[in-house]
Symmetry: C2
């Protein structure tokens, strides 16, 4: 009898698994159940669709449903929501507009993704309050901008999405406020790097750092009155009148049906998996924004939901189920965000407390350099934070910011983390040099040299 591989969730991890399993095994029956109306889309592109760089939301679809169905023989079912997993019968229950049905599986992949965290703020359900997570939510925001021409937006949360959406709203002519509970936006990049971004953002947005939204009230004029409080001084408060609010306070793994099926979650709250992406229940796998991954530096299970990992681990599981056992890759947490004119990037561990919590003795430096040879025109400043462990001298992570040449420089560090490089090995890398592209001593090498000298003190 034909083996059936059922996949819950039709985005990055799910469709990568489906496609790879099909290539590995032409005989497998592959069914993908997607509760929404879209499959295989680039959610990371949504801010650029809203900004206006990408004209048509359809352009974000990597591969259209017909291709999966017709060319890859994948039974992709949109608007089919899995509401129960019964591991004991190897069966799931699917809800559709036309009622529920049961479907047996031989192998199951849970790639249900994540959902936006909805903060508990009085007034949170008022009109004009949005969150960005999937295609429909992106479409809603775009439509709201087009229909209502709001003059201002308040973004709750200064992480990746908050920053990218600030750029998108600003490009649409809105006045932008960003409210961040932590002392810095992009807090995980470290104070030094975050400060550069904050300074740059001042030209484009009003920042409220160390502050939180206490209540949101609809006014008689159809605006939203947002009450902001200071985290440290209870007496300080501010009311901002805005046309629109975007909640960008992070995401959490969508694990409800997994939990109900007694699939074990890790300490992070995401689904725990082994090196092949298998959960505690045989033949049930998990990947993407609902699952844990192994950290490159610590070897620990972490929750770092990123697009590449979802694609890669989905693909690995598809390969395993298709017949070629393939281990999941570890993740260094490499991330980059465009913040108006700046490129901001990070990889590994750059937070001193987090490093200590993981048993390291962290030493960190921050250096200033340039994207090109000093005598070259259009050279731009680059700031790099680099951290290593004092005992092993091995690298732990880095963050960088600058107007050019940052994105792929962080990947040098990502490679170094994968190779368990010491600071000296990084310092000795033979990196590319030509005056229009870098100083003779690349900023990465300068950072390594300064860090090595601090390690030896």
């Amino acid at each position: 009898m034909q083996e059936r591989f059922v996949i819950i969730g039709g985005d990055a991890a799910g469709m990568s698994a489906a496609s790879k399993a099909r290539r590995e095994n032409p005989d497998l029956e592959i069914v993908v159940l997607e509760r929404g109306n879209w499959a295989s889309y680039g959610a990371c592109g949504l801010p650029y669709y809203i900004k206006g760089d990408i004209k048509n939301i359809q352009d974000l679809i990597a591969i259209p449903p017909e291709i999966f169905r017709e060319k890859r023989d994948i039974d992709l079912r949109l608007n089919h929501e899995v509401i129960r997993i019964s591991p004991e019968n190897k069966e799931i229950v699917v809800n559709t507009r036309d009622g529920d049905y049961k479907l047996g599986y031989d192998k199951l992949l849970i790639s249900t993704g994540a959902r936006a965290i909805k903060p508990k703020i009085p007034g949170i359900d008022a009109n004009g309050i949005f969150a960005l997570r999937d295609m429909d939510s992106g479409k809603n925001i775009k439509e709201y901008l087009q229909k209502n021409s709001p003059a201002s937006v308040l973004i709750v949360g200064g992480g990746y999405i908050g920053i990218e959406m600030a750029e998108a709203f600003h490009a649409n002519g809105l006045k932008v406020y960003i409210v961040e509970l932590l002392p810095h936006i992009l807090n995980s990049f470290g104070t030094e790097i975050a400060a550069v971004v904050e300074n740059h953002l001042k030209d484009y947005a009003q920042l409220r750092l160390g502050k939180y939204v206490n209540t949101i009230t609809e006014t008689d004029t159809g605006k939203l009155s947002v009450q902001i409080k200071d985290k440290k001084s209870a007496n300080h408060e501010e009311h901002i009148l805005t046309d629109m609010v975007l909640l960008a306070t992070g995401i959490k793994p969508e694990v409800s049906i997994a939990e109900e099926a007694e699939i074990v979650l890790g300490e992070t709250g995401a689904i725990a998996v082994d090196e092949y992406g298998q959960t505690n229940i045989p033949d049930i796998y998990a990947a993407g924004d609902c699952a844990e991954v192994k950290h490159t530096v610590t070897g620990q299970s972490v929750y770092i939901p990123l697009a590449l990992t979802a694609n890669r681990n989905g693909r690995a599981i598809g390969s395993t189920i298709g017949g070629s056992a393939t281990c999941l890759a570890s993740i260094a947490g490499t991330a980059v965000v465009k913040a108006f004119q700046l490129e901001v990037a990070t990889t590994g561990i750059i937070d001193i407390d987090l490093a200590k919590k993981n048993g390291f003795n962290p030493v960190k430096v921050t250096i200033d350099s340039h994207s090109r040879a000093g005598y070259c025109p259009r050279s731009k400043p680059i700031k790099i934070s680099l951290m290593a462990d004092r005992k092993s001298k091995k690298l732990l992570g880095a963050s960088m910011v600058g107007e050019e040449g940052v994105v792929k420089r962080i990947d040098i560090i990502a490679a170094a983390l994968s190779g368990k490089f010491t600071v000296e090995q990084l310092e000795n890398l033979d990196l590319a040099y030509a005056p229009p592209f870098s100083p003779v001593w690349d900023p990465v090498l300068t950072a390594a040299r300064v860090l090595k000298s601090k390690l030896n003190r």
Copy 2:
């Protein structure tokens, strides 16, 4: 008695050694003998000075002589040429305008650099024929352009310098010819990458590939008539009338005084050194464009004269002589060249024959990808060649070309080569992704995936 460290040659390797030795040991006497009129300059910037990007040739000087003399207590003597080394007396002979003198040394560094290869072409000494090697030669070319306003230039050699100078001449309004003996310009980057550059160059220069300059004749009108012959078909010839010729046929190590002192050269013709940069004669070191280096991939001694290595190895020797023994770094041969709108980069071994000669069983792929997510505007094509050894599955090298995002992507491979990564380890790197900066699967990862699949066939 105060120990004396004498350095022959005051550019990258020499001045790096001097500065580092001073920092390590305040008591050392440090004398630098530079036969020319300039010290510590960025020769790599000369094409951009000639192009006009850099207005003042003085801007190419990293550190002015006074700083070395006054702030670093380094006895820098310009226009002092060392004409003999007598290891048996630990003494050198220095020639100046005012005559010769002898100088004893405790430690000696030979950092005499390289000189432009002068091809044996009848007519090679005619007026209007130039080579670019040092500051004076760069100044000469710039002055010739300004005084004579030549309308055309023929560049002999399609390597880095030839390509960079083509851009410089084109920016000055000259019609540019490039004559290259090998079948491709940038031949060491591999056919696939070179072909992209050649196609791009067609808008800016007339290419003559597989051809060589047979004779150069001065005409009655003060022009140069260059006779070009085809390497393969003896009957084919062409005469190009040009105002100017640039010889860019490579460089060779400046080793005459070393040879006379019976310092051993390697098979490459450059000075052989041990892991600390010491020659066969105790207390005599060599670094920079006159010395061999160890290749990261093969472990063999090679001659790859590049600026970073000169600086780095000079610095390491300065450290050793200053009291902190420091090994030289290996070199992957990472190089990048700006070719008009293109970035072209290479690292490691990408030539199949060279790989075989070094005992590898090379497998190479070339892939096409993009600098940004497919749906992003302004995404540019990137082409990557990637090579690995079939047996060990380890990476050997890569070449890349594209309009953006190439330079620092080659550094990912440089890091991977240093870490002795397999293709699979490269494929599993957690690289940065955001739509404005790369596809989810970075071109480097795509290349690794395709290569892995070919390795497994």
